[in-house]
């Protein structure tokens, strides 16, 4: 699981995407290193979702190259992206709310003991134990893994999805607006899990429109605007206020920033 710190996991070289005559993305480049968080910032319509979809295998890019650990790739389906270790955690679609935590954790890749065809017997003891352990590593202590996921808070659900992606061998974790539907407190919880994932050597791509969420956890920042990159900065090359300026207009975020500062001094 541990990746060597700083290794280049994913390299994006000048990719573009056109929908007919519309330019959705033009000439975007960035790199994702193991154990770092790359934040992709942009307002609505900036091209964030096209960017994710190319990396997640939903769309194919038209120009440029995507290299995974040096190998050029082009994904035909989400499954292919998963197979090379790129896991995407979408905001809403991650969980089956009425199912228990451990079943959600293992869904689609249940550890089985024996059995034929669809009737493979799940090794429930092992499944529960690993689910509890893995969630513990992400900082959620679950004593009763039978609890339905629906009874967890939004942030905790996100983190179950993150823990799941990490456990199933993801090297690069793409988080699509994980904080946008959450309250301040819950956002703090998710940001903690992002830091936790980084510590474990994953390359994290954190998509958000909120620089105040990106700033405390990010190592690199890429700002998108109308399909083009406004720059790709390391943390030391830029300040929060510059970042906010780049995003155009961030005065109303002052209060949020204040609250985050207390939750997030890391």
């Amino acid at each position: 699981m541990e990746s060597e710190q700083g290794r280049t996991l994913l390299e994006i070289n000048g990719i573009s995407k056109y929908y007919g005559s519309i330019i959705a993305l033009k000439d975007i480049s960035t790199k994702v290193y193991a154990g770092t968080v790359t934040c992709v910032l942009g307002d609505n319509g900036a091209g964030k979702s096209t960017f994710i979809k190319i990396l997640a295998g939903v769309h194919q890019h038209d120009d440029g190259a995507v290299l995974v650990e040096g190998e050029p790739v082009s994904f035909g389906s989400p499954r292919e992206a998963l197979d090379v270790g790129i896991a995407t955690v979408y905001q809403d679609l991650a969980m089956v709310p009425l199912m228990s935590v451990w079943r959600n954790f293992w869904l689609g890749s249940e550890p089985t003991k024996f059995g034929l065809g669809p009737l493979k017997v799940i090794d429930t003891a092992k499944a529960k134990q690993i689910a509890v352990e893995e969630l513990g590593k992400m900082g959620i202590a679950i004593r009763d893994p039978e609890q339905p996921v629906g009874t967890l808070s939004g942030g905790e659900r996100q983190s179950v999805a993150i823990a799941r992606a990490a456990y199933f061998g993801a090297k690069v974790l793409i988080l699509d607006e994980p904080t946008s539907a959450l309250g301040v407190k819950q956002s703090g919880v998710v940001l903690r899990y992002i830091v936790e994932a980084r510590k474990r050597g994953l390359g994290v791509i954190f998509i958000t429109h909120n620089p105040n969420h990106a700033w405390p956890v990010g190592d690199r920042f890429m700002i998108l605007n109308r399909g083009r990159s406004l720059g790709d900065y390391a943390k030391e090359e830029i300040t929060l206020s510059e970042l906010t300026q780049l995003m155009a207009g961030g005065a109303e975020l002052e209060q949020l920033q204040h609250e985050l500062a207390s939750a997030m001094d890391d």
């Binding site: 998963l82 009425l98 199912m99 869904l107 089985t112 799940i122 513990g136 959620i140 808070s153």
Partner: protein, 740 residues
């Protein structure tokens, strides 16, 4: 109450945890303080099970008909109920699985008839109209293959067209219905198809007969009978699908011993399980003296039971029954001393108004119930209102009274639900239930009204008192203990009231015993829950032990009932009790329920079923083969329909062309009564099985009660509504208990 106490604390804790910096450090703190992950007690988790509402409903419906009829609670009642429940249950389980997977199959009813008819067509002699004349060895598997192909077709179409399964399977239903009738007219020129070819024929084409010794299912005596020699293929399938167990042919002299001891041990184990799951294991010190007390109590109980079993007479019954009860109580206390940690701070004996209000309400309701029972005549069958042409006023009255009552109750319910507590809603809801049932009962007999009022008020009282006990627990263990003892006392008093009042042995002996046992358990619980401390944390060891005890207990109860149902003893034979036959289809039903429960709980396919019904997009995203899972579920339903088709064909030998048409809604209803969600993603196979049992009981109970069957659907409507509301209520409560 509790909201006020706990919520601010949680708020504080959580803001503390979030203000603590550092992700790694925070994890431990978050774990302890996150309200979502609070300890859920065993009862709470039990209430969270989808089938729990159905279990309560089944017990209630059974008890209701047991009380209002002469024979429903006997073997004579069990036979027709189980017969109907078996076929209905097999289908409702399969339909429930499909519903959990988020789809419906409206062709399931027609499919049961289709598979049965197919076997008949395939095996009829070639000479006869339309017969294919092939052996059952081929016909039965071919019919299964046909059913599975139909199921696959349903699934395939649903997946490919993305149309609602409602439409697709409705089309299949109509097509099957048309084909069944069409082929019946075309091939045999009748709407009845059959009979199956059964007998071996001699050279002239006549059935060969033989003389055999056989047990007469009515008298239980062995006699010589002449019967046809069956073809080996027919007799094989007849054996596995339609053989019967004639009760009168199976005598077991010691039946009552086996029956009562497995019930007694089963119940004790279940009480022990409740203890183990609820109390904290002692951390240190020797439990030696406790163990001695436990064993002593156990010995006394066994001796009391042995004497009770071997002696007759009321005086002896009281003595030895008392010893048995005392032995169990002392034994349980000893067990607690041996295993559990003492509670060093049971708290003061003080009651808040929260406790006093429901407490007083409970006592008043129980007293009212007894008064109502004494005032009303207990003569069986006195009709209060006769509906004939002259009583138009009555009809008008009912037409105005019922909606008015519903309106008033609805308004009250709405007002009450704006209040804070779900408990108030529960109390109001049950009062509403009593009013509606009392009105319905008035339509039938005075005895019905009496029973309804008595049972309703007593239940209301007991619920109110339980609420009081629950709330008293927030003040102190001592207060709760006091309320529980009050309940035990009231139940004992009620038991003796019932014994004095009732003319029926059923109530004087059976109900009396049940109530005394209940009172004993509550009393023991009251004492032990004050003396020992209740567990608030997860303890894998205790969970495991408690669960095993509970499971063995339930199994023993089940075995006890089975022994009672299957065997007859000399006493019964001498009294010429009605003969009962149990079909092998009940075994198929139990087996299928167990299989599907296991599939849902233990296999990947089970997980995927929940997932595709709960959130198909998410399931697909993590690599669940959603389309394949759904198609397999459709095929499961078709397979179940085939099984039921075989059960019907080999039982009845000839089938109506309309067999099974329109029953699909009954399957769905049974699944919903059993706690399965119409929208998918939640439910259980066991629940559907119990739902089928409820439907069968409701249906067979009405003829047993000799009610006018015109009202049957009214009754079914009430049951369905109560089941749905009850399920919803229990589920909500289980989910929200944390915030109470």
């Amino acid at each position: 109450m509790s909201e006020a106490v706990t919520e601010p604390a949680e708020e504080n804790a959580e803001s503390m945890s979030t203000s603590k910096a550092g992700a790694a450090v925070a994890s431990a703190a978050a774990a302890k303080t996150d309200d979502r992950l609070a300890h859920r007690g065993p009862f709470q988790r039990l209430l969270g099970q989808p089938e729990i509402g159905a279990v309560i409903g089944a017990v209630t419906v059974w008890a209701f008909f047991w009380a209002v009829t002469q024979k429903f609670g006997t073997v004579a009642g069990a036979q027709p109920v189980l017969d109907v429940a078996a076929t209905l249950g097999i289908m409702s389980i399969a339909v429930a699985m499909l519903m959990i997977g988020g789809e419906f199959d409206l062709s399931s009813g027609a499919m049961t008839g289709t598979t049965g008819l197919l076997v008949i067509y395939l095996t009829l002699e070639v000479g006869e109209l339309g017969g294919a004349g092939i052996s059952y060895w081929w016909a039965v598997p071919l019919s299964l293959a046909f059913a599975l192909a139909l199921g696959w077709w349903n699934g395939f179409l649903v997946e490919r067209t993305q149309l609602p399964s409602f439409i697709i399977t409705l089309a299949t239903f109509f097509a099957l219905q048309g084909m069944k009738l069409g082929f019946a007219k075309l091939l045999v020129d009748n709407i009845q198809v059959g009979p199956l070819v059964q007998a071996k024929l001699d050279a002239d084409g006549l059935p060969i007969t033989e003389q055999v010794e056989a047990c007469n299912p009515i008298t239980g005596e062995t006699e010589m009978v002449t019967q046809e020699v069956l073809r080996s293929d027919y007799s094989f399938f007849q054996g596995i699908f339609a053989s019967e167990w004639s009760r009168n042919c199976h005598t077991l002299a010691s039946r009552d011993f086996w029956y009562s001891s497995s019930i007694l041990i089963g119940l004790s184990l279940m009480v022990l399980a409740a203890f183990v799951l609820n109390f904290r294991r002692r951390s240190g010190g020797s439990g030696g003296p406790g163990l001695v007390v436990f064993l002593g109590g156990l010995a006394a109980a066994v001796f009391g039971y042995w004497q009770l079993h071997n002696t007759d007479g009321i005086g002896a019954n009281a003595t030895w029954g008392g010893l048995l009860a005392l032995g169990i109580a002392v034994g349980l206390y000893g067990f607690a001393t041996w295993r559990f940690e003492r509670n060093n701070d049971p708290g003061p004996l003080r009651f808040t108004s929260d406790v006093i209000k429901p407490g007083v309400l409970g006592v008043v309701a129980i007293v009212l119930g007894v008064v109502a029972a004494r005032l009303l005549n207990s003569n069986v069958g006195t009709r209060l209102i006769t509906l004939d042409n002259d009583s138009i006023q009555t009809v008008v009255a009912i037409l105005t009274v019922v909606p008015a009552a519903l309106l008033i109750a609805g308004a009250l319910l709405r007002r009450a639900s704006k209040g804070k507590t779900p408990v108030a809603r529960l109390l109001l809801g049950s009062s509403l239930g009593i009013v509606v049932l009392a009105i319905l009962a008035m339509l039938v007999t005075e005895q019905g009204l009496r029973a309804t009022l008595f049972v309703g008020l007593i239940s209301l009282g007991l619920i109110a008192l339980s609420v009081a006990a629950f709330r008293a627990g927030f003040t102190s263990a001592t207060a709760r203990s006091a309320v529980l003892l009050l309940i035990a006392g009231l139940v004992t008093w009620l038991a003796y009231m019932v014994q004095v009042e009732s003319t029926s042995v059923k109530f004087r002996a059976e109900l009396f015993t049940v109530m005394l046992v209940g009172a004993l358990v509550v009393a023991v619980w009251a004492v032990i829950s004050r003396q020992f401390s209740i567990r608030q944390e997860f303890d894998a060891g205790s969970e495991q032990l408690g669960r095993s005890f509970g499971l063995i207990g339930v199994l023993l109860l089940f075995i006890g009932v089975v022994v009672r149902l299957l065997y007859v003893n000399e006493n019964e034979l001498a009294r010429e009790i009605a003969p009962a036959k149990f079909s092998v289809r009940i075994l198929w039903f139990i087996g299928f329920a167990a299989l599907c429960t296991w599939i849902l709980a233990r296999t990947s396919f089970g997980s995927w079923t929940f997932a595709v019904g709960g959130n198909q997009a998410a399931a697909r995203q993590v690599g669940v083969p959603a389309a394949r899972t759904k198609t397999q579920l459709f095929m499961l339903v078709a397979g179940a329909a085939w099984l039921v088709g075989m059960l019907l064909a080999f039982r009845l030998n000839s089938l109506q062309a309309s067999t099974g048409d329109g029953l699909e809604f009954e399957y769905i209803i049974a699944a919903v009564v059993g706690g399965n969600l119409l929208t998918g993603g939640y439910g259980s196979a066991l629940g559907a099985a119990i739902g089928a049992l409820i439907m069968a009981m409701a249906r067979q109970g009405i003829p047993f009660a000799l009610w006018n069957t015109d009202w049957r659907f009214l009754f079914l409507g009430v049951i369905l509504l109560l089941a749905a509301i009850g399920n919803r209520f229990i589920k909500d409560r289980a989910d929200n208990l944390r915030s109470e």
